[in-house]
C-alpha cells in the first residue's frame, strides 16, 4: 500500500511538471496561448502516456505471474503485433481516419485474443499458450511486413512505418477517450486474477489443487492483456518493453506476490511512460524521437542485463 501511495504521489507531481516540458518550455504566466496548449495538447498526451503505461505495466506483471517467468512480456501473447496489423490495414487502404484506425487495431487485438482462446483456451497448458501467442505474433509480423513490401505508394509506406514505431505525438482527447475506459477495464480484469496468479507461484498443478480454475484464469489474462495492450497499440502504435522492465523494477519493493505487483506495476508503468515521453519531447533532435524507439533503446539493453544477471555474469564458455 505504501509503495502504491508513493507512486501515486510521484504521478501527482510528475504529471503537472510534464505539462511544462517540451521543445517549447511553457511558463503558464508568460507563454502565449499557454492554457490552450496545456489543455488541448499536453494534458491529453500526458494522461494518455500514464494510461497506456499503466495498462502495459499491469499486463507485464500479470503475464510474468502467469508464466512464472520474470522475462515474460505482454508482447508474447501476439496481441500487440495483431493490433498493429489492424492499424496497418487501415493505413494501407488509406482509410486511417481518427476512428477507423483504432477500431481496426482493436479488431486486430480481438482477433488475436479469439485465436489464442481457440487454440489454447480450453485444455492447453502454459507451454501451448505461449507457443500459440508467439506464432500469432510471428504471423501478424509477417503480414505487416507483407503490407510494407506491397505498399500502394510511398506515402502509405511512410505512414505505416512511422506509425509502427509508436509515439504519442499529436494524440489528443479522443485517443484518451478511446483508450482509458478499455485500459481501466483491462487492469481491473487483471487485478481480479491476482489470487489465482499467487497460486500459480506453486505451479499449475498446485494452483489447481488450491481451487484455481485454469480456464477462467486464461480467459481473464486474454481479456485483460487484450484490452490494455490492444487499446494502447490502437492509439499509439507498438510501445514495447514497459511490461518487461516495470514489474522487474517494482518487484523487489513488494513482497513478490504476483497479486501485490499488479497495482504498483501499473502506477510505475504510467510514471515510466510519462517520463520517457517527456524525454522524447525535450531531446534536441531534428524530429521528435519516437517513444517506441526510445523504450526499445532502454528496454533491450535492460533485457540483456537481466539475462546476464540471471546467468551469474558474462562467461565465454
Amino acid at each position: 500500500m505504501r509503495l502504491s501511495a508513493t507512486l501515486v504521489a510521484a504521478l501527482a507531481v510528475a504529471v503537472p511538471l510534464s505539462l511544462l516540458a517540451g521543445r517549447v518550455w511553457i511558463d503558464p504566466a508568460s507563454t502565449p496561448n499557454a492554457a490552450l496548449i496545456l489543455a488541448e495538447l499536453r494534458l491529453p498526451r500526458a494522461l494518455l502516456a500514464v494510461t497506456l503505461g499503466m495498462g502495459l505495466g499491469a499486463a507485464g506483471a500479470a503475464m510474468q505471474g502467469y508464466l512464472r517467468n520474470p522475462l515474460a512480456d505482454p508482447g508474447l501473447f501476439g496481441i500487440a503485433p495483431s493490433a498493429a496489423l489492424g492499424a496497418v490495414i487501415a493505413l494501407w487502404f488509406g482509410i486511417a481516419t481518427a476512428w477507423v484506425l483504432p477500431v481496426l487495431a482493436l479488431l486486430g487485438a480481438g482477433g488475436a485474443m479469439a485465436l489464442l482462446a481457440l487454440i489454447a483456451g480450453r485444455t492447453g497448458g502454459i507451454a501451448l499458450f505461449t507457443l500459440a501467442g508467439m506464432m500469432i505474433a510471428s504471423l501478424a509480423g509477417a503480414l505487416t511486413s507483407l503490407a510494407l513490401s506491397l505498399a500502394p505508394n510511398a506515402f502509405a509506406l511512410s505512414a505505416i512505418y512511422t506509425w509502427l514505431l509508436g509515439a504519442l505525438t499529436d494524440r489528443g482527447w479522443p485517443d484518451l477517450a478511446l483508450a482509458a475506459p478499455l485500459t481501466v477495464i483491462g487492469i481491473a480484469t487483471l487485478f481480479s486474477a491476482g489470487r489465482a496468479l499467487d497460486a500459480m507461484s506453486l505451479g499449475e498443478v498446485a494452483a489447481r489443487s488450491l481451487g484455481v480454475n485454469p480456464n477462467r484464469l486464461k480467459w481473464l489474462l486474454i481479456i485483460g492483456t487484450g484490452l490494455t495492450v490492444g487499446s494502447g497499440v490502437a492509439v499509439a502504435g507498438i510501445i514495447g518493453f514497459v511490461g518487461l522492465i516495470v514489474p522487474h523494477l517494482v518487484r523487489p519493493l513488494t513482497d513478490r506476490r504476483p497479486s501485490a505487483l499488479i497495482v504498483p506495476s501499473a502506477l510505475a508503468g504510467g510514471l515510466l511512460l510519462l517520463i520517457a515521453d517527456v524525454v522524447c519531447r525535450i531531446l534536441p533532435l531534428v524530429t521528435e524521437l519516437r517513444l517506441g524507439i526510445a523504450l526499445s533503446l532502454i528496454g533491450a539493453p535492460f533485457f540483456l542485463y537481466l539475462l546476464i544477471k540471471m546467468r551469474g555474469g558474462l562467461r565465454w564458455a
Binding site: 512464472r68 517467468n69 489470487r195 499467487d198 497460486a199 500459480m200 507461484s201 506453486l202 505451479g203 498443478v205 498446485a206 489447481r208 489443487s209 488450491l210 481451487g211 484455481v212 480454475n213 518487484r251 513482497d255 513478490r256 506476490r257 504476483p258
Partner: protein, 247 residues
C-alpha cells in the same frame, strides 16, 4: 463417508496409467501408496485430488462425484502437496503458507501460525524461501497445505528431501493429522516408512493394484518380490521394522 475411487482407468496420452483401480481413504487413517517408478502412484494421487478426471470409473468424496464439485469447494476439503514443490517467486515462508488459505478466500493468521508451528517453522516465517535448505523448504510447503485445514491430505513423496530427524518429524505430523480425524494419503518409496507408519498400504504395479490392506498383508516379502523384483525380508519388531534386501 470417505474419499473413494471406484474402477478408475486413466490414460495419459496413448499410455494407460491406471487400470480399474478401486480403493478408498478413510478419516483418521494414513494410507501409503507404494510401487516401483512409473507404477502410477502420482497419477492415482492426482485422481484422488480431483486434478485428473478418470477416463472410466469415478471418485466420490462424501458421496459426491469429485469432478462435478466446484473447484474451491473441493480445494477446501482436499489439501494436495505435489512432488518437487517449486515456488516461482522468492516470497517469505509466511506468504507461502498463506497460499493455503486461498480456497477459503481469507488470510486466517491463526491457521497460518498453527501450520507453521506444526512443522516447526514459526521462527522462519519472515525468511525468504531462497534462504531455506531443501528440508526447510519441504516443511514450508507442507505448512502451506496444513494452513488450508483440509479434511483430506494427499502428499506426494513429502519425505524425499528430508534428513532423518525431519523425516520422523513430518511422519509424526502426518500421523497427528490423522489422529485429529484427517484422512491422509502419502506416496512413499521407502517401504519401511509405509510398514511402520501407515494404517493401510496400496501397492501399485504398472497401473494396477497389486495388493492393498494392512502393511503386514500388503507388503509381504512375496509381494515385494513380485512387484519390485527384489528379494527382501523384514526384521525388527512391529512399528520399528527394517527391510533387508538381497539381490
Amino acid at each position: 463417508m470417505g474419499l473413494s475411487a471406484r474402477n478408475i482407468t486413466v490414460h495419459l496420452g496413448a499410455a494407460q496409467a491406471l487400470c480399474d483401480i478401486s480403493m478408498s481413504l478413510n478419516p483418521g487413517e494414513v494410507t501409503a501408496i507404494c510401487g516401483p517408478n512409473g507404477a502410477g502412484k502420482s497419477t492415482l494421487l492426482s485422481v484422488l485430488a480431483g486434478l485428473i478426471a478418470p477416463d472410466a470409473g469415478e471418485v466420490r468424496l462424501d458421496g459426491l462425484i469429485l469432478n462435478t464439485m466446484a473447484h474451491e469447494a473441493r480445494a477446501k476439503l482436499i489439501g494436495f502437496l505435489p512432488q518437487n514443490g517449486e515456488i516461482a517467486w522468492d516470497v517469505s515462508v509466511h506468504n507461502l503458507t498463506a497460499l493455503g488459505r486461498l480456497p477459503h478466500r481469507d488470510r486466517d493468521e491463526t491457521a497460518i501460525a498453527k501450520a507453521l508451528a506444526k512443522v516447526e517453522m514459526s521462527n522462519f516465517a519472515q525468511r525468504p524461501i531462497s534462504t531455506l535448505s531443501g528440508g526447510e523448504k519441504a516443511r514450508a510447503l507442507l505448512a502451506r497445505v496444513l494452513a488450508g485445514e483440509p479434511r483430506w491430505l494427499l502428499t506426494d513423496e513429502p519425505l524425499a528431501a528430508l534428513d532423518l530427524a525431519h523425516r520422523d518429524s513430518v511422519i509424526g505430523q502426518l500421523r497427528d493429522e490423522a489422529a485429529a480425524g484427517t484422512g491422509v494419503a502419502i506416496v512413499v518409496h521407502d517401504l519401511a516408512q509405509a510398514m511402520n507408519h501407515a494404517d493401510k498400504v496400496v501397492v501399485l504395479d504398472q497401473g494396477k493394484i497389486a495388493a492393498q490392506g494392512t502393511p503386514q498383508t500388503a507388503l509381504t516379502p512375496q509381494i515385494i518380490a513380485n512387484v519390485w523384483g527384489v528379494k527382501a525380508r523384514w526384521i525388527g519388531e512391529a512399528g520399528a521394522q527394517a527391510l533387508i534386501t538381497r539381490s
